[in-house]
Symmetry: C2
Subunit: 500 residues, 2 copies
């Protein structure tokens, strides 16, 4: 027993507990808390957040990390990974001056309010000063974080969401993707064919929930270690590998939203439930990055949930659960319908082909804002122009254009790319799964999703953060992250669906 | 602005937040948490508990309290009450040596397990050594807490639950009560009459919940500041005056349990919702004592919920909600049925007449154990003998006798009396309410429960802990706590029901 490592473990298990507590309070707030409870909840969460931050930034922790690093040869894989991740968190937390942290939090709160109002009024000008302020603060934050090795301020911010990812790699990936996505979109819209619309229900909420629960069970969601509830904005929150909660929301006229939303969140949940509980409390017992987390949700939602194989098994069940609605819908029509490609100005409503274009547009603009290559006053016009170029139309208003997402008001710069990275990772991982799991498609087509779930757990989940995203992808697939798997998945799938 | 008082307020609002967080985690554990989550939940709660305890026992807080006390003339009513209560909590938390706190916690955990098993086997002997250990530790705790002014160890323990209450006062109260309760019981069982039994359902859970919610709404429960859920053991937990949660459990064969349980918990909840939210975070913004808390639940459950007035309004509604069951049950029979007096060995199933006898028995025995006037090995026999004396029979087994309650295994000595004090306070308070609220009975009989709820809020709830229990009762009713209101309430009610 290494007493220093024991001390380290004890400190981090408390930090982890405090984070779990914040997650539990936030989950409660979104799902259970009565309306008036909000007044004190913020203060309750922030009391715990401050204590957690104090623990993470304690100088004595810095000293302990230094000692552990000096003798890192004595540590095993999990121990080394945990010390490395603890160092990363410690450095990031201690590099920011307190005044900047406070300014960021205060500005985020006010900018969020301003954004809500500006979006309601579709008035970009009313939000612009807040965005200006936020961009300046984020630039300052990036400079506090940046080491000598980072070339762009943006790299330093990316590190919060996708450790190890860089602007130069994103530039390369997205430069490959954008023209090919735009071209595929044009071929699809140009072919003049569209799938029939699905019936508009009504789909009773209880039947939808039963159906979702059946799918989640088949995916291997562990109900003893998780829950499904409803909330205005669906999310997944893992308090620990043994308590992972997902939420969804139901529409009685549209079945896809809740269903694919639930499968998506369950993909996240399987990642969290897949960590080894005996490592709970260690910094390495966590997701590698937002992009890898998103790959798990996208893979289940798209590669699996929107596949013909999947519905070969589940459509007959859906016909029984929602008797009148799918009786006369042939399998191929159904699968085409749930994969309809229809450009929309709104990112969160986008299909698989156009989704990446929404992300690339945001990535380019936020990068230019930070680098001061684009002025705040020119952002709306830049947005609309680029939207026309990538997707073929200009949004009708700022509300469905530059003001549609909350991220920038919250200071989340560098976050958007992880959504598209999730799609790229998912395609590359699923491609590998198909090579390694015998007859994966046939398994899915007869309702067996467990072979995939077990493969993901064994190859990805249980390893936590013991490898970086780049190491994981290289190790798993034999080569670095590449856009080609995602592009050929789209070409293949939508080529077939639309008969291109 | 007094900067020292501001510092005090800030410290206590953090302590209060941390307590709310523990309550939220515990509520979640009882109502929502998936099974496997238990493994880490205990550690999460305990991480917060330790931090809360550190904050409460910080020497700098002791110094701050001392300075505030030296200048207490400058403080207003709420400020003085808060400093006084903070001092009480600080002293009680700092008087116990850490080793004793740990020994108590460890013994409670092990004794609880031993108790569960012993009760299952109905084997008092298997629990006795644990009880012996716990009694020794509680005696030690009492001696750490006791000031020069307390005469009995037991007084020092009472202080945790019913501040200001003493053995000599309890002895006097209970000596008045016991013979009269036993005599009333004998008159009732001797009269040979019993009410008809209520139908055994089935009462659908959803209908019961709807009905309960309607009653709670009429009582003035604020749904924007509260929730109703189910849990194995019903409870009320106020995270703040604006977030108060109650739970219940439903039986499909018996309607009374869930209904009166819910009314009982709602009585607690109205107390918590009745605190002034602008004082939230101050030590004085809390319940006066467990006895006063219990008075609020008992008053609503018994004085209101089991009254003829109440059912004059609600029985017609119950007939509509549960169509077949109460159609032919006349109001008077119904009211008699829900007030059936039937001695049982089990405290939690006891009626209003016998309940107090169960409490007095426990009070006497636990006091004697602590004073070493009764040996652990003689407890079972003492229990059974006294049960025969007070209630007329010996329990069939230890499981339904001396082992029935969990309290002693948890170290809760001095807790039982608060249940009966709740009944006494309730009767005295309700008697006063009837003097002050014009036509209270008629209001209740036409479904208006709000006049009572407002009176309780105005006279009791909103004042928090700015007065002691004794001050409150004196101020409210013009004389000290007395058993006579409770006794004459029982004589009157059960005399009428049983035609004595």
């Amino acid at each position: 027993v290494n007493p220093q490592y024991e001390d380290f473990k004890e400190r981090f298990s408390q930090i982890t507990h405090l984070r779990s507590v914040m997650q539990a309070l936030t989950w409660d707030q979104e799902t259970m808390m009565p309306e008036s409870g909000a007044l004190h909840r913020a203060a309750q969460v922030s009391t715990v957040a401050v204590i957690q931050h104090q623990r993470l930034t304690a100088p004595s922790l810095g000293e302990l990390l230094y000692r552990l690093e000096s003798e890192s040869d004595a540590l095993d894989l999990w121990e080394r990974a945990s010390v490395r991740e603890a160092r990363r968190q410690y450095n990031r937390a201690t590099r920011l001056p307190e005044a900047l942290v406070r300014a960021l939090a205060e500005t985020a709160a006010l900018a969020y309010e301003a954004w809500v109002k500006a979006r309601g009024d579709s008035d970009y000008g009313a939000f612009a000063p807040w965005l200006q302020k936020m961009v300046s603060l984020k630039r300052e934050e990036a400079r506090c974080q940046a080491g000598a090795s980072t070339q762009h301020d943006y790299d330093a911010l990316l590190e919060d969401y996708e450790p190890g990812m860089t602007v130069s790699q994103l530039n390369w990936l997205f430069a490959e993707l954008q023209p090919q996505l735009t071209a595929l979109l044009q071929r699809i819209t140009g072919c003049g064919r569209q799938p029939p619309a699905l019936p508009v229900g009504p789909y009773p909420v209880m039947a939808q929930e039963d159906f979702s629960r059946e799918v989640l069970t088949a995916m291997g969601f562990d109900w003893k270690a998780g829950r499904l509830d409803t909330s205005p904005h669906p999310f997944c929150s893992g308090f620990s590998p043994l308590d992972v909660r997902i939420t969804t929301r139901y529409s009685t006229t549209e079945i896809s939203k809740a269903l694919f939303g639930t499968i998506h969140e369950c993909g996240h949940a399987l990642y969290e439930q897949g960590f080894d509980p005996s490592y709970y409390g260690l910094p390495a017992c966590d997701a590698i990055s937002l992009g890898i987390h998103e790959s798990q949700s996208r893979l289940w939602e798209n590669q699996v949930g929107r596949s013909r194989d999947f519905w070969e098994f589940w459509l007959p069940r859906a016909r029984r659960v929602f008797p009148p609605h799918f009786e006369d819908v042939p399998l191929d029509d159904f699968v085409w319908s749930i994969n309809r490609v229809a450009p929309t100005p709104i990112r969160v409503e986008a299909d698989e082909v156009t989704y990446g274009l929404h992300v690339i547009l945001r990535y380019e603009l936020e990068k230019e804002l930070l680098a001061d290559n684009l002025g705040i006053d020119d952002l709306e016009e830049a947005w609309d122009t680029r939207m026309k170029e990538y997707l073929g139309f200009r949004p009708d208003s700022a509300a469905v254009g530059v003001l549609q997402d909350t991220h920038w008001s919250q200071g989340l710069f560098g976050y958007f790319p992880t959504y598209l990275l999730g799609n790229l990772y998912a395609a590359q991982i699923f491609n590998q799964a198909n090579r390694e799991i015998p007859d994966l498609g046939k398994n899915v087509a007869r309702g067996d999703l467990i072979s995939l779930r077990e493969w993901l757990k064994d190859r990805i989940h249980r390893h936590g953060k013991t490898r970086s995203a780049a190491e994981l992808i290289q190790e798993l697939t034999g080569h670095p992250l590449s856009p080609r798997h995602f592009l050929s998945y789209l070409e293949d799938k939508f080529g077939r669906l639309y008969g291109l």
